[in-house]
Structures are given as structure tokens and as C-alpha cells.
Symmetry: C2
Subunit: 205 residues, 2 copies
């Protein structure tokens, strides 16, 4: 009983947007309240700090956005290497779309925030690590599938997944830093090379 509200959801969305557009440290609680059209008192009714909200917002991002997207792209019903190709392509198109919409390449919020707060905000940092680990699992099982299918050279799937994640995050970070989505354009070919794909198309990378 009592009145209901979606202010907490508006706060999570506003926080994620602002942190993605600027950075964790540059965004104030007042900024978030303004964007969400929520008053300070309500903010503190739902969350006890910016870090607390950030953790909730990252959790929501994973459940509402990332998990569904990854479940679609990394579906077991799709050919293993084709999953990676589709994902590389999705990453590129997503960043190019952000540039068109926001006027800037925004990169990966998880990596930006994680790198920014890792030595500072323990709770935020733990949530980033959790989401990161979940994402790695998609890469890892797809690598195992690709090995089983004889599409790539046998390797340590966990290490290869880390390397693939590194390549993606690093290239996307460069795109943000350079504010140029075209940096990501050749990610697909480079990614297949790193995977050790046996396809002929890779030679042209």
C-alpha cells in the first residue's frame, strides 16, 4: 500500500546516461536528480549515495539491456564464428549510432567506470567485475564451441576470452578517446585473427 513510483528507475537511467556521457566522478547527485526530474529528498529515499545508485544502475543495465542482447547474439543456434562476427559488427554499429545520436563516441560504460573507480569505490568496482565476468562467459563458451567445430586452433578458452575482451574494450576505448567510431571498423577482421580463425577471409586482415 501507499503510493507507487518509478522515480528510482528514472534515477538509474539518468545516472547511467550521465556517467556514460561524462564520467562517474564528473556527475553529481544534483545532476542526476535534474536529469531524472526527481528531488534530492527522493534520491535519498531510494539510495544512500551515488555509489549505491551506480551499483543498482549497472545491475539494471545488465538485466534489461546487455543480457537480452548477448543472449540473442551469442545464441547456441548460431554458428560459433558467426556469433563473434555478429558481435563485432554490433559493437561497431552501436558506437557509430551513439556518435550520430550524441555527437560523441561514448565507448563502453562498464570499462570506463571500472577503470575510473577501481581503486576507489569498492562496491561499484565489485559490480563492474561481476558484470564483466558474466560477459566473459559468452566469449568463453563460444570459443569452446568454435574449437569443437574445428573453426579455430585449439587454445585455452579462458585466456583467449580475456584477450578477445581486451581487444574489444581496448579498441572501443580508443574510439572514445579519439571520438572516432571508424577505429572499430576493422575489429571484426582483427578479432578473427586473434581467435586464430582458419577461414580464408582472415588473411585479408
Amino acid at each position: 500500500m501507499g503510493r507507487t513510483s518509478d522515480a528510482n528507475i528514472r534515477l538509474m537511467n539518468a545516472a547511467l546516461e550521465l556517467i556514460w556521457e561524462e564520467s562517474y566522478g564528473a556527475v553529481t547527485i544534483d545532476d542526476i536528480c535534474n536529469r531524472a526530474e526527481v528531488k534530492k529528498g527522493s534520491f535519498y529515499y531510494f539510495y544512500k549515495s551515488k555509489a549505491d545508485l551506480a551499483v543498482a544502475a549497472l545491475d539494471r543495465m545488465w538485466n534489461e539491456e546487455w543480457k537480452p542482447t548477448l543472449d540473442g547474439i551469442f545464441s547456441s543456434s548460431v554458428d560459433p564464428l558467426a556469433r563473434f562476427s555478429a558481435y563485432f559488427d554490433w559493437v561497431y554499429r552501436a558506437q557509430a549510432g551513439l556518435k550520430k545520436k550524441h555527437g560523441k563516441v561514448l565507448g563502453c560504460p562498464l570499462c570506463s567506470v571500472g577503470s575510473e573507480v577501481s581503486t576507489q569505490e569498492q562496491n561499484v568496482s565489485a559490480k563492474v567485475r561481476e558484470v564483466f565476468s558474466r560477459k566473459l562467459k559468452y566469449y568463453e563458451s563460444t570459443i569452446r564451441d568454435a574449437i569443437a567445430a574445428g573453426q579455430i586452433a585449439p587454445c585455452d578458452a579462458a585466456k583467449k576470452a580475456t584477450a578477445i575482451a581486451g581487444l574489444i574494450e581496448g579498441v572501443v576505448a580508443q574510439a572514445r578517446i579519439m571520438d572516432d567510431p571508424e577505429v572499430i571498423q576493422s575489429l571484426g577482421a582483427q578479432g578473427l585473427t586473434l581467435l586464430g580463425a582458419k577461414s580464408a577471409a582472415v588473411a585479408s586482415a
Copy 2:
């Protein structure tokens, strides 16, 4: 005439240290002054803002630290692939050393700061891009040398350099986020695979 001072250098060093340990946004001018043992009045005598100091500090970092190190590792007198191997190894050891000394993996300050401020601080961002571009040139010419030596498959050197930089930065960022230098341990093998090295040792990656 008049007295001389190294307060500006102490300020640059303190700024770089603090920003590396925490983040650009988390560090205040007072923090920097305290670490450098310099009073506010002197700070504003030398620099007009935190961004102004950050630009100077990054410039100094490049000239005093990075350029000499890279000139040594990427010396033309060394075998091309061996340069990369030595560099991958240096990256790993540097981060493992930071973990021992600071208790935390600190990652790459250029990438962390660049990613954090790219949509905010224009001047800092421009300096980050400049240093980044300089670093890419080492990779690029080494890739060309490796192709000429027949050590790696022919490819677009600029694109490959971007990919290599991405892999390194991404893996190092993961190491910072996870606070675990071991994430970087297999960078060497993965890097050689991404380069398209023809050596047999790569197969075990």
C-alpha cells in the same frame, strides 16, 4: 634573475601519481598541493587549472619516461618480433611491479584519463590523443619491419597497430579493474597471434 624553484615539477609528479592511483576527477587541487608540498598560491602561479597541470604532466611523462623507454624497447637494432615480445613482457612486469609497490594494479594512466575526460576536458583530451598517436607510431613501424622480414603475414600496418594497441590497453584495463596483474600474463602469446606471427611458438597460445 629572482629565485628558482622546482615546485612546478613537484606539482607535475604529484598530479600524475595521484591521478594514476585514483582518477582525474577524484583528485583535487588541494590533494595535489599537499602531495607536492606546495601551497595553493604557488600552484596558481604556475598553472591556471587542474586541466592545465594535467596537460603539462602528461607532456612531461611522455618526454621523461615513455619516450626513452619506448626508444629502447623498439630500437631498430632489435629483431622486429623480439621488440614486441620485449614490450609485452615489459608491460606485464611493470604492472606486476606496481601491484607490489602500491598494493594495486594501476593500469595505463593515458588510457584511464583519456577515457575519463574525453567528453569533458578538451585540452587534456587533445594531449592524450597526441601521446597516443606517438605511441602508435612505434607499433606501426615495427609491424612494417616484421612484414619486410617475412615474420608476419602482410597487413595494413596502421590498422594492425590500432588493434595491437587495443589489445594491450584492453588487457591492461582489465588488469586494473580486476586488480590482478596475471590477466596480462598471456599478453605476449595473444599479441603474437594477433600480429599473425608465423612462429611455431604461437600455436601454443
